[in-house]
Amino acid sequence: MSTPKDYVLEVEDLGVSFDGFKAVDGFNFYLDANTVHVIIGPNGAGKTTVLDLICGKTKATSGTVKFKGKEMRGMREYCIVRAGIGRKFQNPSIYENLTVLENLEISHPAGRGIFGCLLFRRTPAIQQQIESTAAQIGLQDKLDTEAGILSHGQKQWLEIGMLLMQEPEIIMLDEPVAGMSVRERTETAALIRRISANRSVIVIEHDMEFVREIADRVTVMHLGQILSEGSMETVSADPKVIEVYIGH
C-alpha cells in the first residue's frame, strides 16, 4: 500500500443516507495526480451524489474526504473551492447576462471577499490569464459575446473555462458532453486531456465511447456502492459490470 501523500484526493468509507435510504454507502476512492478518473454507472447509482459529497453541497453522514491529506468533510462549500477543488454542474451554469470575458473574470480568485470585490481591477496579468483560458476552451474570438447567446457546447466549455480560472488541483465534471454534437464531443475530449496535464479531473459520464477516449481510470458505481474499478479494459471485461449494464 502506498502512503496517503501519494494521492491528491482520498475518499474513505464515504456515505450519506436520505431518510434511511443510503444513496452512497462505503464509498472508497483514490485519485492520482494528473489523471482523468471517470465514474460510470446506471441511473441512480449515486454518481452525482458522490460529487456533491466531495464538494460539500451535500453533507456526508459518514466517512472522510481528504484533499492532499487535509480533511474536507464539514467545511463550507466556498472553503473547499478555495482549497482547490472545482466543480462543474450538469446543466451549464454560467452568467447569461455577462460577456464571456466577464464570466471568466468573475471566476478569477483575486477579490473573492467583499472588499476585494469592491476594489477589484483587471490587471494585465489577469487579462492575460483570461485570454489564454479563452484560447484553451476555443472561445478566444467570443470574449465580448454575451454568454447567453453561445451554443450549448460553448456554454459547457465556458463553464470549464471558469473552473480553469480558479486554477484548481481537482476539477469535477458532471456529464460534460450531454447534449453535444459528435464534433463537440471530440473537442471536449481533447480539452479534458489537455487540462489533465497538470491537474486531476473527475468525470461522470454515460457515453462509453467518450469514456474510452478520455479515461485513465474508471470506477463503476451501482446502487451507491463501488462495483468495479480499474482501467477501461479491466472494467469492461468484468462480469459484474456486464451484468449490471445488460441486465438493466
Partner: protein, 380 residues
C-alpha cells in the same frame, strides 16, 4: 475618467442622473414654495430606502418587506437626540421631573432611561444613525442567510420584524413615546429646524446626501461586486462554487441597504419634525417597496423618481379621494408587477431597445448597396 466610467457605464445613465440631479437641485427649489419643497425633501428621504432596495432587491434578488425597520431605527436615533435637546430643564420646568422628555414625565418616569443617555452627544447620534440599523441588519442577515433562508420566507420574516418593532415601540410609551411617537422637536444644536430657512438648508443637505448615496450605489453596481450580486441572484450555486461566500455577500448588501435607510430616516425626522411607529410598520414598509418597484428596482435613478412620483400622486389623490387611495396604490403595484416588472426605468430602457430593433429592421429592408458603404465609411 476611469472612475467616471465606473460610475456611469453608458451615456444614457450619466444623462438620466444629471437630469434628475438638475431637477431636485435647481428646478424644484426655484419652482416650489418652501412648504412644498419641504414635502419633496420628505419624499426624497424615502429615496435612500429606494437606493438600498435597488441594491438588495433589484441586484441581489432579496425582497425585504421590513425596510421601514431600518428607516425607523435611523429616524428614532435622530429624534431621540432632538427630543433631549428640546427637553432642557428650563423648558420642562413645569414637569414633575424637569429635564426629561415630556412623554416620560406623563408616564411617571422619574429619570432618563440608560439607553437614552448617549443621545445627548451629537457625534454619537450620527454614528448611531448608521451603526444601529446596520448592526440589526447584520445580525438578522447573518442568522438568516447562513441558514439559506431566502425568497418568500425572508420577505415574511422581515415583515414580521417590522410588525414586532412597531408594536414594541407602541407598547413602551414611557421609553419610546408610544403611538404618538417622538414629537415637538425644535432645534438641532441650537439651530431652529422649523424655520423656513432651516427647511431650505435641510432640503439641500438631504439632496446632496441622496445624490452622494446614489453615486455610491452606482459605484457598487458597476464594480465586480455588482456583477457578483447579479450572479448571486441568477446562479447562486455557481457563485458559491466559484469560491464566494454567498451568505456574507447577502448579509453585506442587506447591511448597506439598512444603513442607507437609517440615513433616510434621520433626514426625514429633521425635515418633518417627528417620528412615530406608524412610519415603520407593515404598511409603510410595503409602501417603500412599491416606490422602488414603480420607479424601477434595477435603476438607482428610477427608484428615486419612483419615490417622488408615487408620493406626489399620493398627496394629490388622497386629498381628493381619501378612501380610494389605498386601492389605487395596490392596483398600481399589481399593474407594475404584471405589465412592467422593471418599472418606469425599465420602460425607458425597453423603448431604447425597441427603437434600435426597429432601426435594424429598417436597415435590413434597404438595398444592400445603400447601407454597406455608409456603415463602413461614414466619412463618405
Amino acid at each position: 475618467m476611469a472612475f467616471f466610467r465606473t460610475l456611469f457605464k453608458t451615456r444614457g445613465e450619466a444623462v438620466s442622473f444629471a437630469c434628475f440631479a438638475l431637477l431636485i437641485l435647481v428646478i424644484l427649489p426655484l419652482a416650489l414654495p418652501v412648504f412644498r419643497l419641504n414635502l419633496v425633501g420628505k419624499y426624497l428621504s424615502y429615496g435612500f430606502v429606494g437606493i438600498g432596495l435597488v441594491l438588495l432587491w433589484g441586484r441581489c434578488g432579496i425582497l425585504s418587506l421590513g425596510q421601514g425597520v431600518f428607516f425607523g431605527l435611523g429616524g428614532y436615533c435622530m429624534a431621540m437626540f432632538l427630543k433631549l435637546e428640546a427637553s432642557d430643564p428650563v423648558t420642562t420646568a413645569i414637569q414633575s421631573t424637569p429635564g426629561i422628555p415630556d412623554f416620560m414625565d406623563w408616564n411617571q418616569l422619574t429619570a432618563l432611561p440608560k439607553f437614552w443617555e448617549p443621545f445627548h452627544s451629537f457625534p454619537f447620534t450620527v454614528l448611531a444613525i448608521f451603526v444601529v440599523p446596520g448592526l440589526v441588519a447584520f445580525l438578522i442577515g447573518w442568522a438568516m442567510f447562513r441558514r439559506r433562508v431566502g425568497g418568500v420566507y425572508f420577505a415574511i420574516i422581515t415583515q414580521a420584524i417590522a410588525l414586532i418593532l412597531s408594536l414594541g415601540i407602541d407598547g413602551n410609551q414611557g421609553y419610546t413615546g408610544g403611538r404618538n411617537g417622538i414629537t415637538d422637536l425644535r432645534t438641532l444644536m441650537g439651530w431652529d429646524i422649523r424655520s423656513e430657512h432651516a427647511q431650505q438648508v435641510l432640503y439641500f443637505i438631504c439632496v446632496l446626501l441622496l445624490l452622494g448615496s446614489a453615486l455610491f450605489a452606482k459605484y457598487i453596481i458597476n464594480t465586480r461586486f455588482g456583477r457578483v450580486l447579479m450572479a448571486v441572484r441568477d446562479q447562486e450555486e455557481r457563485v458559491r462554487f466559484s469560491g464566494y461566500d454567498v451568505a456574507m455577500i447577502r448579509t453585506f448588501t442587506f447591511t448597506v441597504a439598512a444603513m442607507l435607510a437609517g440615513l433616510g430616516g434621520a433626514l426625514f425626522v429633521l425635515q418633518v419634525g417627528f417620528m412615530s411607529p406608524s412610519l415603520i410598520g407593515i404598511v409603510p414598509s410595503i409602501e417603500l417597496v412599491i416606490f422602488a418597484a414603480v420607479g424601477g428596482r434595477l435603476s438607482v435613478v428610477g427608484a428615486m423618481v419612483g419615490c417622488l412620483l408615487v408620493n406626489f400622486s399620493k398627496s394629490a389623490f388622497s386629498e381628493a379621494y381619501p378612501d380610494l387611495w389605498l386601492y389605487l396604490m395596490g392596483g398600481t403595484f399589481i399593474a407594475v408587477v404584471m405589465f412592467f416588472p422593471d418599472g418606469l426605468a425599465g420602460l425607458f430602457t425597453k423603448w431604447g431597445t425597441i427603437k434600435n430593433r426597429a432601426a435594424a429592421l429598417l436597415a435590413r429592408f434597404r438595398p444592400a448597396s445603400a447601407t454597406t458603404p455608409n456603415a463602413s465609411q461614414p466619412a463618405k
